[in-house]
Symmetry: C2
Subunit: 542 residues, 2 copies
């Protein structure tokens, strides 16, 4: 059963990696591909019962019904919602205890009236206009987070593109003046650095001044690549600029044929400190295509709530976690009455962030407690700024993406990927991490906003002029999260991590912290998938 | 007046280019920027009455009212619609003659029942399901086409992102097997080529084996760039692969830490012929961010029709164009009655493609006729394929963008940027040009579809399996276009182009063909902006 479900989930590593059979199969499939294209090859793969090596595409297929076994789920974030949704299908009686008044955990969307508690500070209350919103938790879904996309598809949640890369957005830094006054568009730096580097390499290849084991024919192809990559002049192999860095004056109609722009010199670029702003190959987690739900990230939690909202007990704060040989006993404080209740079950899936969990009275073993204590959470601040006009679109021609500020205090500026050409919009003026986030959150809310406006003002004429109100988030000060996401050290991954993934008697932990996708919704979902499968195996074996 | 409107349109080349004053102003503005950031600098620029050098951002500001002067506009494509919309505001009496039964010209969207006439062949009739549509004319709006975006904003036409680049899409070619069997994702080639090139350059820089005029400090920065750009190992400067080329097995939750993929060798890549598929710096017209109207490109024409639909006479085919010293006389055949009528006006804006116009009886001078005859139009075919499932998303994890086929017969395969995760969708299976398009259009419609399916089948298991119906377009066979767009030779730009841009008595031509943005909607719009300003100057001077 487990093996079957693994296959269906794409976990076919045993097949792919098996030394015997692997190559034979591979050769057979290659032969099929050569004869009949991908169609035939895929059929062949299905015949072998193997899929393309991949993350989990879909929830595990569980066989056998649970006959009403009771599962208490702690937390109605994505890991908890997924667990309840999938386990109920399998005949489990599920109940979710959620400390907040809403589902979704850290997957939140701020709208008018939204209140975010902040430790040691006043609650942050959202003052945006009706219709304006801002995802101050997770905000983007890469195309390869198939688990997240599994549920947006299953629930029919409409998606739109999240623009994660916009070469027309600005870049600045402490030494940016090496490139002259005024804002610099990323495309200028990106085109020129690649142009100059390609020119240098091309000229040395051309003069056979390089130590590379290539045939003459291969060298010519390599030259072709460099000419294309760097937009070099074919004859002289010089980089003379390219339309891709933008025009001094864009081509238009009539006699407006356009006026080329002048590239920066290589040493100018190197001295600007902006030379390595963006690699042409983004890291996997940052690659296109990215999505966001239309209307706010909390649409995903709403999708689950429509299905299993009846299983959630809101404003139920877990105060004690115990288990015996027969079951689990969870105490919680009801936020309305202030009274403590106990709920019992056969199993427990606990999705409470370890940052919070480790402070809850629980009968975990010493080794497990030590593992929890070894895990730290990332401090992180975000700040959404409601702007009276979308000056970044109308005046600066920037539609989505990020302006890179090299300002370690506030981080980059990000533009909304929704409401194109509308009147107002929410700009993300701050996204910082670690000690910088900790320090930033020590400032009062108005000082934080002022700091962010000062940074933005250096890039956009409209930034301070059009500011209306802001929504500050310090995730490490949010009492039910105490951090943005789990931050694993290499040592922690080796020692504490495997232990926290193991069932502790009848209790299984789940959440983004138990994944290699920390801070991403997919990590929470896939962790739940793994843990409910373990739970089901235990339940079926009992 | 003209000067003022030019300034407001951003045509301040006289200011920017003027040798005296230019540098002084520039230095002054730089000083402002250094002191007060962009905000202050922009104020300074406004004080000088100059804007950032740019394309036309908005329609010309015309002063003085036309007192009911009559303008006959030939063609209700974007150039004609813009002309009527702007001139009516200024007091002109406008009438548009449109040969088709709808507005928009070549800006069309195929839906169920849409009929496209094709010379020498049966009409193409769209069989898509309700709700499915396909832009078989212009399909994308780059962020810097400010003129097009001016009207989507003015009319409140909702936009969504057009995904023009997706490194997770496939690439193949005649020698792709040098990289092994099965489909190759573009990111693998892109990451490996840049990795290998950066490694070679970095090692030579490191060993000072290059002839580059950089200081030691600059060399170290250049190395930093190369390490970042190529994702090199910092110590050995080796390219060992990168997450950006995709994983053998993606990182997930629990113990699924992911499994790296192996890079291709440089000579493998060179022999595959796929090394230069995509430059990391796209050409200007192809850069992100790109848009499309939600619901179809024809929403833009609909926006104009809501404003000035009453000015359009549909199914009115122009048969004769004459002018005297006092006005213009246009004969047209009414498509309903078959009768010929004449309409008179003070001026005429003619947006009929020159490919069609040159066959219409008109009293243009010989030189002008010769100029028209020297202009050729690009043959181009497109084919939209309705698919029963979105297998490219569900099975292949490709969301938008283009798979590069290196199949010169049919061109690339493009995936829809709308209806994410819905059941069905329209894939663009063909986009070819020139003589290939001419040859392709000689095949009957089913043979064209079969050819396209054969190409797609090599990349996608679902391609033939899920095909339902197709919509074929050969723009050179569409009788009212006779080509996709104007194709100017360098010689034509020097000689014929300026002449065709000049008023011929009381007649002014406008359209994408009179721009440096041929084939783009912005070219048509900006051409109209330029010509109505000339018309207004003539009318005011008379």
């Amino acid at each position: 059963m487990t093996q079957q479900s693994h296959q269906q989930s794409g976990h076919s590593s045993t097949h792919i990696a098996s030394p015997d059979g692997h190559l034979t199969r591979r050769h057979f499939l290659q032969a099929l591909g050569a004869v009949g294209g991908v169609g035939l090859m895929m059929s062949g793969m299905s015949a072998f019962g193997i899929g393309i090596a991949s993350v989990q595409d879909r929830p595990p297929t569980l066989s056998g019904t649970a006959n009403g076994k009771r599962v208490v789920i702690l937390g109605a974030g994505l890991a908890g919602l997924v667990s309840a949704y999938e386990l109920r299908k399998q005949g489990y009686q599920c109940e979710i205890l959620e400390t907040r008044a809403f589902a979704g955990g850290r997957c939140q969307t701020a709208r008018y009236g939204f209140v975010l508690p902040q430790l040691g500070q006043d609650d942050e209350v959202c003052q945006f206009d009706d219709g304006q919103y801002y995802n101050h938790g997770p905000w983007r879904i890469p195309y390869h987070h198939r688990s997240t996309l599994h549920y947006t598809r299953e629930f029919g949640i409409p998606l739109e593109i999240f623009v994660n890369y916009n070469e027309a957005a600005f870049v600045t830094g402490p030494n940016a003046k090496a490139l002259g006054a005024g804002p610099i568009r990323q495309m200028e730096v990106l085109a020129d650095m690649r142009g100059h580097a390609s020119e240098i390499l091309a000229k040395h290849v051309d003069q056979s001044a390089l130590d590379v084991p290539l045939t003459q024919e291969e060298k010519e192809k390599f030259l072709e690549f460099l000419v294309h990559e760097g937009h070099l002049d074919k004859r002289g192999l010089d980089y003379l600029g390219t339309g891709g860095r933008g025009y001094q004056k864009n081509p238009g109609a009539g006699l407006h044929s356009g006026q080329a722009s002048e590239p920066y010199a290589l040493n100018q670029l190197l001295n600007s400190g902006l030379y390595d702003i963006v690699s042409s190959v983004s890291g996997f987690s940052q690659q296109k295509t990215m999505f966001q739900p239309i209307g706010g990230m909390d649409k995903i939690a709403e999708g689950f709530e429509e299905q299993i909202g009846d299983l959630v007990r809101y404003q139920a704060k877990v105060s004690k976690i115990q288990q015996s040989d027969d079951g689990v006993m969870i105490d919680y404080v009801d936020g309305g009455s202030g009274e403590t209740h106990q709920i019992q079950g056969d199993y427990c899936i606990c999705t409470i962030p370890v940052s919070v969990l480790k402070n809850i009275d629980a009968d975990f073993g010493d080794e497990f407690v030590a593992a929890m204590n070894s895990l730290s959470y990332e401090p992180t601040c975000k700040l959404g700024l409601q702007m009276k006009t979308r000056f970044w679109e109308v005046e600066d021609h920037i539609y989505g993406g990020h302006s890179l500020t090299h300002n370690s205090e506030t981080g980059n500026i990000s533009y909304p990927s929704t409401g194109w050409q509308a009147q107002k919009g929410i700009v993300q003026g701050v996204y910082n991490f670690g000690s910088k986030a900790a320090q930033f959150s020590a400032m009062d809310r108005n000082a934080r906003i002022d700091k962010a406006l000062g940074v933005g003002e250096q890039l956009h004429a409209g930034y301070r002029r059009d500011f209306e109100n802001g929504f500050n988030t310090a995730w490490h000060l949010e009492p039910d999260s105490l951090g943005g996401w789990a931050h694993w050290s290499a040592e922690g991954r080796r020692t504490a991590y495997p232990l926290l993934n193991e069932p502790q008697g009848r209790i299984l932990l789940a959440g983004e912290h138990l994944s290699y996708l920390t801070g991403w919704q997919a990590g929470a979902i896939e962790s739940a998938w793994i843990q409910i499968e373990k739970l089901h195996d235990m339940a079926m074996a009992s």
